[in-house]
Amino acid sequence: MRQGLSLPTLLGIAWLIGAAVAAGGTPQETIADAARKVVKVYGAGGLHGLESYQTGLLVSPDGRILTVMSTVLDADDIDCVLDDGSRHRATLVGVDPRRELALLSIAGQDLPAFVLTEEARVPTGTRILALSNLFGVAVGDERVSAQRGVVAAIVPLEARRGAAQAPYKGDVYVLDCTTNNPGSPGGAVVDASGRLVGMLGKELRASAGGIWLNYALPADELARGCREIASGTASAPAPADAAPLDPRLLGAVLVPDLLDRTPPFVESVVPGSAAARAGLRPDDLVIAVDGRSVASRAAVQQALGGLAAGDPVRFTVMRDRTVVDCDLGPRPRSPGKP
């Protein structure tokens, strides 16, 4: 049995929202209400550290669901599980590649939904609650996880995923709670009254320092993204940042790229180079770069380009029917880049 105004509840309120006792309910009520508008999204993945689940937000009573654009949605069957445990097959309405948002649709009516507006942002210091499908610990009708925190900063996003820069460069809310977890992307960030403040973004590291970022896309950006997806004006995907990189920069000269799929044989090794120090030899056949198999010369350059500058480079080569690993040291910067 729970009373509305017991001492524990009062303490909880005071703790969570400080002096600014909002017009909304208790944190418990806010979470219970917001959780009805948060869905668990299931799709492709489950291999190589790629989760097959994330979070989504109901943004219209007729079943529009906003989530992050990710490999989870690269599936024929995308399932959304609502707070009541009901499971719905979703279709992909469209994507906003710049903000990395995706709009899904499930059949439904009179569903509880967040209201998306392009109104002003909340200030730094705003206390928030984050609701998400983190770690996939909640299944079926089990409620998504709630975390509490504060908007610690509002800054432009400078982040990357692997070597690729995140395409969105606008402002994000930086949060002081650990929301950057598997399954969390697409989660709701609400204020004390339950109003949607933003959406937890994809798992990204800061470009500077490489730490995992706990951040959310502001609600006004979500509203714009939704509008652009609905009107078909969402911008085209940003070009991939990972340009191919010639292994010559490491001192490994491959055979000329003459065929569609030229086997990546080493033609020569520049003396004194990283490749030479790593023990690479002419006639070695490169079969993998950093553990990823490469079938052609072009694939080697592509794989090298996919590594972040400074990441360790490992060539796995076939030499006299044995497999040898050669560590070539850090990946050099691409020519022409600062």
């Binding site: 049995m1 006792v21 610990v137 299944v139 089990e142 409620r143 996880s145 929301t179």
Partner: protein, 588 residues
Amino acid sequence: MAPSRPLSLLSLVPLAAAALVATAGRGEGVDRAVLDAQRERVETIRRAAATAVAIFAGDSGGGSGVLISRDGYAATNFHVVQPAGPAMRCGLSDGRLYDAVLVGIDPTGDLALVKLLGRDDFPCATFADSDDVVPGDFCFAAGNPFLLATDLQPSISAGIVSGTHRYQFPAGTILEYTDCLQVDAAINPGNSGGGLFDAAGRLIGVNGRASFEKRGRVNVGAGYAISANQVRNFLGCLRGGRICDHATLGATVSSDAAGRVVVSEILESSDAWRRGLRYDDEIVALAGRPVRTVNAFKNVLGTLPAGWQVPLAYRRDGRRHELLVRLAAVHAPADLAAIVAGEQRQPERRQQPRGAAPAPDELPRQPATDQPEVPPLPEAVTGLYEPRSGFANHHFNTVERDRVAKAIAAARADRAADTPWVLTGRLEGGGEFRIELSDTQGLVDLPTGTSVVEAAADLDRNPLPPGSGGMLPALLLWRRLVTRGPADLGRTTYWGTAPRDPAALGTAACPLVDVLEAAVAGVEARFSIDENGDVCGIDLWTAPDADPCEVRLAPTAGGQGGMPARIEVRHGGRPFGLFLVDPPGAAP
């Protein structure tokens, strides 16, 4: 600054102003209710911190614990005490180190009970009903993360409850976290075994696990605590110095296409099968809690000790059925002991699959393979530790058995030991009965016939009256227990606690009562003893794995010289008879 310069009045003015500003910065403009709440919270945390135990397991690392009784019993994690052995040193926030001894363990549920020594006035936490906890509730953990408490002052980390009734798979070990609380308060290695408290400073759980991903073994905003209610369910068994086991229905369930939870496998040797549960039956509720998902089923089951009888509701052909089912143990005792020994050899947790939630276990300070020789017990623990197969520390079983024996002796105080007991009255279905119990024999006179069992006979060969499964042997042993005490019943141990009325499980009023177990004259019997020292239930097996005779005694408070007002006898899931006993003196 020049020394000994006198302070002029003028130079005092800015000082006073600065003091005013400082005061304003702390209080002014902040609602009084908030300041009061803050003061209240500081005091609450101070009180809870006094119950936090820093456990030091020598070279094996350590963790946390929480005091739950004045005489020093503290709950912690199995994985914290396991490397420590039977004795350990524990620190409290009073700055003192106490010797402590291992009492009981629950390896599956990752629980353990230790007893701090040397005081009978320890500060202790009070239990909250953890089923009342909801997401958003304020909570805080008090413990010893990263073994930082070298000054014995616990670390406090605060947060909210992120989720309730979470199910966490056994992650590489047998440690299964069912029905646990999920919190965003930082739970780090070393916090294991410490208390999780609500805003009023009451114990809602025992921290034990966290999701660790990509940041190494540190908090990522998802910690898990064993619920206080689960701790309470296992406390009796733990206090009895046992290696506790968890329960199985003897059936597995899965979700069917319609999302219903249905029986997918069932053992024909299980009590559930004997009571009538079959394939494809839809499980609706277990132990008084609704079951709508497979996780919910596992959650409820995971909170229950082996051997409890619990209500089960299922649906078949649109009709709802309810029955009482006896839960079996998950492990054979030898297997459990082997697992415990195995965990001891390998305290290092294996690498966890991504997304799983390994326990933030002790921080080993030396390689796990380098197991030290068993050190001699500290003097303070001498006499408080007795190894025995099936027990973590048999000494505490004797302690609990003697406590219950004392309560029984006090309750029977004015009852003569050598006179026969005669109970007469009516059967609920009509007819009269007469029961005579003496040192030499037992007799039951029923409208359907008279049964006699010699007290010296092998009781398992005399499950009389016919159809009762052994009512007379049960009543004979009842008299022996009450008049002569547990020692007279041969090998008698403290079994733990169980619900007095299993059918009431899940409701507010379902007290747990002490249970003694005896193996005597070819039968096994369990006696439930209520808070007054009166025997309120007897389960008697004439053969293992057979249905027991279940006798329920409803004593009248204070009256009838401790004699029951009614005796209910069941066997094989069916009532054998309800005996309404005449008040004493009415007997012919």
